[in-house]
Amino acid sequence: MPADRRPARAVVRLVRKQVSRGAYAWASIAFLTVYATAKGYTATYPDVNGRQKIAALVQRNPAFQAINGVARRLDTPGGYVTWRVGGVLMVIVAAWAAVATTRVLRGEEDLGRADTVRAGAVTGPQVEAATLMALAGAVLLVTYLVFAGLLAARLAVAGSALLAAAIGLSGLLFVAVAAVASELFAPRRRATQVAATALGVCFAIRVVADGTRGLTWLRWCTPLGWAEETHPFTGNVLWPLLLLAVLTAALAGVALGLQRRRDVGAGAFADRPAHSRLVLLGSPARFAVRSELSSVAVWSASVGAYAVLVGLLAKDFSSFVSTSRGFQDVAARLATATLTRPVGFLALIFTFFAPPIALMGVFQVGAARTEEADGHAEVVLATAVTRSRWLLGRVAVGAGAVVVTSLVAGLLAWTGTALKGGGVELGSMMRASLNMLPAALLFLALAVATFGLRPRLTVAVGAGAVAATYLLQLIGALVKAPTWVLDISPFHHLAAVPIAPANTTAATVMMTVAAVLVAVGVVAFNRRDVAGL
């Protein structure tokens, strides 16, 4: 009897539907990011002189290469784009791919939906293979748009293809890693943690390898390092991609092998035994703290790690700027900050901390929406808890998380400068932290209003607004958009605290608007039906 391929195709179609929204979003962001970075390079460094200066600064200083990855030939647009966004996109695409994978593999099993699919005329490995194929398709879409973005910015075809392929294969590798994690661990949260830890370790090894003199050999110990060894635009070495492909295929094979051996819904490792702890159960807000603590800790740690690095770099960077005339012009145009002192560099950089912190706030409101969609809010709201108390409790926890993360960023950036003897005061950095809050909280408040009015769009509107303003700034600066266009972005109103005084007018306006938005959200939530998915 010939094999019926229709059930497997149905699985592919199902998974494609589940991941396509994220794929389109990330593909668009990736396209715009590489395109804007390449275009921005030629605008910022129009002549050879400036290009050689930035190249000399970064290439001579490993600390600059820790986060973004190895820097080669920054005096060429291709080399610059690869350094500036290549490494970061590899990690972001890998992280997205891993999360999407555990969602459609382990997440579907947790919810019991996998049973329905597996009751069809397909075997477990067929479902898994079809799922992986659909996920690979999503990663390919992102890869293709990276390639298109690079070509659109008129970079060399071979280098563009190689960089896009390196980013795409990093994504595919972490689809496979997350697939193995989904086979071994239940529930989804644990599988995601394991896959994220694997990515974190790969990234950390690469950070050490690229950020430390004399440890470049360490690059061979991490797949993200292999991707770097392709030297896009600067050397175009193809064979490290083969390493990535072989490892990806091997892990996918392991996942399929494990799939054959286990029960649906079960992991190889048993769930940790439960111990009841009765703390933080007394009110909706306390319960929100309990539920969100671990995710807020991860956000704070990530933002904090970046802050430390920024602190460590502040001194080197400011001394570079003070000796580089071309760059001073740019800096003056980018912001009113003077970048010739470490504190100036930090002041400018800190305005870029606001978008990720705003995003975290949006996700906190998104967690409230998930509670509602899962039917948990209904049970809570049937007890002696008003809707206002429930929602405001969660909003307070989200706002608290935003404040804590900001302060952690300020504290750790100061720690970084202190380690380098940068002479920046702790108080100044705390003020820089607080300066971000109104803009970040504004997006949280927008999510709250959306939650009240159109609950299903809570995260889409909130995160979409953050992404849109980020892209507005990126592209607006590039095309020298008129000020009123840039002024649409709340982040554009952040003064470079501590070297400039805080823009109290803007802060007051933003906090007022935020308060109104929260009020709208609460009132609308009080008036609408409690809704499921």
Binding site: D110, D271, E378, T383, R527, V530
Partner: protein, 291 residues
């Protein structure tokens, strides 16, 4: 206890509940019957203030479910049709959370209920089967000793043994003077525990009353076995033949059986059974007639 007055709820163009009138009295166990999609859950969510009525109104314990949320919910306990337990919380933690949010429960009674429903409360929410999640919601609700228990198909997923425990608990609640509003489509359950029932179809109440009322108003079933020539029952008012087989006649009768018995005088009857319809028959008739 509960008064519902021309309560209507639309979701977009769908009418989920169409001018529903209903009354539940203090201390009674009220069965709310209807097939899937009839509007049972919508009614319950309106009574709890989780949904906003399109028109009409409901008062529960003399309070407005939409405005007097806290005052009302302190006196009401709710079991949803499908309780999706928090995956990360253990049974103990879930009971603690819901108890505290309700504003206090009878902890001794809760411990007893855990024992009676034979639930292992040390497991996490995600490890519970559907039946065990339902037990968790039932224990949380019953342990509040609230004046009004609103139960939305509470026994879906429970095994017959636990179903008995549930019926006992409902009986005890009634004994203590608690009012129970029980939505269900398990007719034997409703027959066993409910004082009065309301039957809902496509968002409208088709009938309400005690089970006896509904039975008396309804037709009885006659089963006549005979030998020899078939009886002629034509022309009797309110009689409708359901089935006429070899020596067996089954029919439905509305009104007095007297004309039937007289018409059978010439027939050699070997067996004569007249019985009131079961709730199931009532139920099916309501839906078939309207179908």
């Amino acid at each position: 206890m509960i008064r519902i007055d021309r309560l209507t709820k639309r979701f977009g163009s769908t009418v989920a509940l169409d001018a529903l009138d209903l009354e539940v009295r203090d201390g009674e166990v009220f069965g709310f019957l209807g097939p899937n999609g009839a509007g049972k859950t919508t009614t319950i969510r309106l009574l709890l203030g989780l949904l906003h009525p399109t028109s009409g109104e409901a008062t529960v314990l003399g309070l407005d479910p939409w405005r007097d949320v806290v005052a009302l919910h302190r006196r009401v306990a709710y079991v949803p049709g499908e309780f999706n337990a928090w995956p990360q919380l253990t049974g103990t933690e879930t009971l603690e959370l819901l108890g505290r949010l309700h504003g206090g429960v009878d902890e001794e009674y809760r411990a007893l209920l855990v024992k009676r429903f034979d639930l292992d409360v040390s497991k996490r929410g995600r490890q519970y089967s559907k039946g065990n999640r339902q037990k968790l919601a039932l224990i949380a609700a019953l342990s509040t000793r609230a004046e009004l228990l609103v139960l939305d198909e509470p026994t879906s997923g429970l095994d017959p043994l636990m179903e008995v425990t549930f019926r006992d608990c409902v009986g005890e609640a009634k004994g203590r003077g608690q009012t129970v509003f029980l939505s269900s489509h398990i007719l034997s359950e409703v027959e066993a525990v409910c004082d009065r029932v309301g039957i809902l179809r496509a968002g409208r109440l088709v009938d309400q009353g005690t089970l006896d009322d509904l039975r008396h108003l309804s037709a009885v079933t006659l089963e006549i076995e005979y030998t020899g020539p078939a009886p002629d029952l034509g022309g009797i008012d309110g009689l409708e033949t359901i089935e006429h087989g070899d020596g067996v006649l089954r029919c439905r009768l509305q009104g007095s059986p007297d004309p039937v018995i007289k018409a059978l005088a010439a027939t050699h009857v070997t067996n004569f059974v007249m019985r009131e319809p079961s709730l199931e028959e009532l139920f099916l008739r309501y839906y078939r007639d309207a179908g």
